[in-house]
């Protein structure tokens, strides 16, 4: 896997901006999404073609009225009936073309919205399959920016430009046909403008692309900075860091400005240039038309029609060039979306996963090696045998690799070497979901989602009944507390779960683990920010849960440690000592020192 956690220190979006980009390929991939809506797309295009055909016919007919009028002026005889008939025909043609136009819009609204729906779906599926190694290496702001902002960019372009581009293309073809039918020579003059227009716009698009990409990259970096400075505002304030924060912001802001105004200007050049080329065509047609009219080779009405065509010709070219401008930003955004979609997923499930029945909870760890970063091993040659029902206390100084074990058990990360087995089955031979239903997890990070209390507890088991939820809450000693809340079990937990305390959150996460009823437990005995009374509750709830289950406890409490069957003493990712409390105390090693440093305080307390 290529993503190192350390890469997130420099907003990696900047790095991506330096990579050679393949916009053509991105465009093709975007088009693949349309494939899934082939039928609707076909009808939409058909409607577009029909609508355009009728629209394109109109100026020629209108020209006929003018010609009839002009002939009337020169000859003095007006064919009023003819003219009325032509005008009526024109009205019908106008109406038909717009009915089709509406049909086209109706279908395209659905097509574009559904494509965005599909992209969002793909992204959310992907996010759920990405390895934590990747997710941990990116800031949330950065990832969110891709799944929301970038998708929005693509979405608004599709909605605004997509139908315009289709009808513009149809119009270009339709007008070309009409012009050639009326007069080949003048048409050639009008056509001469097209290659020039296309050539200049392609140059401009290339030039502005660079700025668009830079702009997006710096915006990504700025979003990261803003998020950090806002979420960590208490530290920013108390360390008087505001000025530096502002300086960094201003710096990024200047970079964005520098790139964004150039990008906007360059893409904005397109429309005046194409307007100019259009006007050149207009003037040439008018002058040429007049010369030909004098020689009687063209009717006045046909000149009028031609002028309208040239104007209309100019319009779609302008739209296409303009769309090209937004298309660049869109493709840049789409590319970032596809980058996520292209990320390597979690390693594939075992093709023939072992079916799990009646798990006893014997855990065997054999010669495992693991590192987050290449060349920086966190765990080396780690061995452990745990019998069903035993409690393993993991102790050690902070940063000694205790949480890493959780990552490996749950297969958030895979071991580099060696194996972890449950009941003699390698955990890599199980389906991830099966594995994860063996392990129950209570982490320090008490994540709850924006739902009711009951929903959050039921998270541990799909389709849990209210009774099961209440029972779990009771076992976790949180039932009484929940009863005191407004709406009780149906109280919604707010976005940042600020309406309940840390300790209560922890009890809820215990209830969530209890309802899952797993044979093996992983507990992180968190002590932070919990008052003593709640702490007693948490401890009791954990003890109750551990009965009859194999348990791994990242332990801070001596009672837990002393009662454990096996104590693992970790330091720098190595098990430095392994054994029961008594054995380890006799050894007078690392554990002995660790224990005494605490025991001293306890002694003072018990005086």
């Amino acid at each position: 896997m290529s993503n190192k956690p350390s890469s997130s220190s420099n907003p990696s979006t900047i790095k991506h901006a330096e990579k050679p980009r393949n916009l053509g390929n991105t465009g093709r991939r975007l088009l693949l999404y349309f494939k899934q809506l082939k039928g609707k797309l076909f009808f939409a295009i058909l409607m577009t073609v029909l609508s355009t055909a009728f629209t394109v016919m109109a100026p020629e007919i209108l020209g006929k009225v003018t010609t009839q009028l002009y002939q009337g002026v020169t000859t003095g005889i007006f064919h009023w009936d003819n003219m009325i008939r032509t005008l009526l025909l024109l009205t019908v043609i106008y109406l038909i073309s717009q009915v089709f136009a509406f049909g086209q819009n109706f279908l395209i609204a659905e097509i574009t919205s559904r494509i965005i729906y599909l992209i969002r779906t793909d992204l959310t599926i992907k996010l759920n399959r990405l390895p934590l190694r990747f997710l941990d290496s990116k800031t949330h702001g950065e990832l969110l920016s891709r799944v929301t902002n970038d998708v929005e960019t693509v979405s608004s372009t599709l909605q605004q430009s997509f139908s315009q581009i289709i009808s513009s293309l149809a119009t270009l073809v339709g007008i070309s046909v009409m012009m050639v039918l009326i007069n080949v020579r003048i048409s050639l003059i009008a056509f001469a403008v097209i290659p020039i227009a296309l050539f200049t716009s392609s140059i401009i698009i290339k030039a502005s692309q660079k700025y668009f990409i830079n702009q997006q990259a710096f915006i990504g970096a700025m979003n990261g900075h803003v998020e950090e400075m806002y979420t960590g505002y208490s530290v920013v304030r108390s360390f008087n860091y505001e000025e530096e924060a502002k300086a960094r912001f201003s710096d990024l802001n200047k970079k964005i400005l520098k790139n964004s105004w150039r990008a906007e200007f360059l893409s904005g050049i397109l429309s005046p240039l194409s307007a100019f080329l259009g006007n050149i065509g207009y003037v040439s047609v008018a002058v040429m038309g007049c010369f030909l009219a004098i020689r009687g080779q063209i009717e006045v009405g046909q000149i009028q029609a031609f002028l309208q065509y040239v104007k209309q010709f100019n319009h779609p070219i302008g739209i296409i060039s303009n769309a090209a401008g937004t298309l660049q930003a869109t493709l840049a955004a789409a590319e970032r979306i596809f980058e996520i979609l292209d990320e390597a997923e979690e390693s594939a499930e075992h093709p023939h996963p072992v079916k799990l029945e009646n798990i006893q909870g014997n855990v065997s760890i054999q010669h495992i090696n693991f590192s987050y970063l290449p060349d920086q091993p966190v765990i080396h040659d780690f061995n452990l045998e745990v019998k069903s029902g035993q409690t393993v206390a993991i102790v050690g100084p902070t940063g000694s690799g205790k949480t890493t074990l959780i990552n490996l058990f749950m297969r958030f990360y895979d071991v580099d070497d060696g194996s972890i087995k449950v009941d003699d089955i390698d955990i890599r031979d199980m389906k991830r979901d099966d594995l994860r239903s063996i392990f129950g997890m209570v982490l320090q990070d008490t994540w709850l989602f924006n739902g009711t209390i009951a929903e959050n507890i039921a998270y541990g088991r799909q389709g849990a009944t209210r009774q099961q939820v209440v029972d779990a809450a009771k076992t976790a000693y949180v039932h009484q507390f929940i009863r005191t809340l407004p709406n009780s079990y149906d109280m919604r937990i707010s976005e940042d779960a600020s309406n309940i305390s840390q300790g209560e959150k922890q009890l809820l996460t215990i209830a969530r683990a209890i309802i899952a009823d797993p044979p093996i437990l992983i507990l992180d005995e968190a002590t932070s920010s919990v008052d003593t009374r709640t702490e007693v509750l948490i401890q009791n709830a954990m003890n109750r849960m551990m009965q009859g289950r194999t348990s791994f406890v990242i332990a801070h409490r001596l009672s837990t440690i002393r009662n454990a069957d096996i104590i693992l003493v970790l330091n720098h990712g190595d098990i430095v000592e392994k054994g029961s409390h008594l054995e380890l105390m006799e050894k007078k090693g690392f554990y002995h020192r660790l224990y005494n440093s605490q025991f001293e305080a306890e002694e003072a307390g018990s005086v």
Binding site: S8, A109, D136, H140, L273, V300, E535, E602
Partner: protein, 574 residues
Amino acid sequence: MQLLWDCLKPYKLPVVALLLFLIIQSACEILLPTLVADLINQGIQRANTDFIEKAGMNMLLAAIAAMVCSLASGLISARISTMISADLRQQIFFKVQEFSSNEMDLFGVSSLITRTTNDITRIQTFLLYLLRMGVLTPLMMLSGIIMAVFTSGKLSLVLIITLPVMSFVIAWILLSMMGYYKSMQAQFDLLNLVLRENLTGIRVIRAFKQTLHEMERFQEINYEYTRLSIHTQRLIGILMPAVTILMNITTIAVMFFGSKLVMNATMDVGSLVAYVQYITQILLSVMMTSMLFMMYPRLITSLTRIVAVLETSSSIIDGSRPEASIHTGIVEFNHVSFTFPQAEEAVLKDVSFTAYPNQMTAIIGSTGSGKSTIAKLLLRFYDITSGQIRIDGVDIRDYTLHNLRERIGYVPQKAVLFSNTIAGNLRFGKKNASREELLKAAGIAQATEFIQAKEAGLDTPIAQGGANVSGGQKQRLAIARAVIKKPAVYLLDDSFSALDYKTDRTLRQALKSETKDAALIVIAQRISTIIHADRIVVLNEGQVADAGNHEELMERCSVYQEIVRSQFQQEGLL
């Protein structure tokens, strides 16, 4: 909207120039059909080739002039719109830097982030459109109307009917769209909320095999959003055909009545041909202008959200005595009471205690007893409701915020680190700290060992939110960051919670010898952390239950005894 005008003010000259360029551009554009009318009337009818050539040249010049003006206006509008949005973005960010906890709570961090980023982008898009098309299209409409009336006043009566009808149709469709936009926005926020939750809770989601459930939850919202989006887009889809039909009918009416005028010889054919083009230009402009209104509701939402931030000023007023600074670090709480805004009950009631330099003052109490609030009040994240907090005999509201916070070494309950190197994070405490100073502070915070274990040592990058270091490591770095400040007052808010007992103990000892001249205020949960404190303040339900050292409190303070008992019982030592 006022805000936008204010933003445009400094750009008066460029805006005037822009206007000028656009006027010339629209005049040149409208000149083309007029010249065509001349071509038909004088060139063809009189077969005057010289005239045709001359008119052709004039038309060419007009086209060139139009392009030059258009380029110039494009340059100006790109520059103005991006500069204004950069400026607004900066204003907001700077403003938020002044906010205290009150305001941060009021808006919410995630909302402030959106306001600083997305809302500004939206305004930039609007400005760009406004300055380019928004100004040009009314001008094109105006020049079209002038020429139309000038060519034939009678025929222009058609416009009196067409223009209002068209405006009405457009307004009607746009108004009905607004409702949809609002529900779409709400659904969009929900979409983001779920995504954010999915990212933050990824471990729990996977551990509980809820991936499928989360995807379903997301898809439900995604589906609803898509449904609304389709409805809205279809409504927009009516707009264009409806307007086009109106335009076409107008054209036919013009041809019908115009022909009659030509037959009466009150109008010539060339003028009629030009007239049809004027009408087309007028009606097209009306439609383009309506696009501006389509962006308007979204713009207003963004603008209001931005103005709300800019108009909020911090509830904390900076101290008025810039010369006052903290030297000794005697912290006195004098009958301090504090009630959170909008809360009914006070968090702290009549709290008094004094913390002296060279002493460790501990504050202990259960959750909700108001411990952390004391730290927030001392740092002036909130201002007290009544009473007084003094440092060195001076009311903390008299110090400038900078001077006050400069001398307090704060270690927050939640150790926040930033995406920077370890050294960069420590230098929060002292901007130009040397490597020796950094290492020394790290040593005191017991962080040397794990820092040195990293290949890049002090230059090891920290991911956003400190994601790549453990909780205990975070806390130690946060402590080192405060130590390096050499503050007069150390303020540690439950800062040892993620440390194991051994590290906790060594750290406390190192800290004690380092903080000789400073007042050390420790807010704690664990008795063992504060057992040796010179003075322990016991808080209970916002009030000081008692204060004294461990032995004294064990003798006389029942609240303290209860806390001690509950903690040591757990350890099986009593």
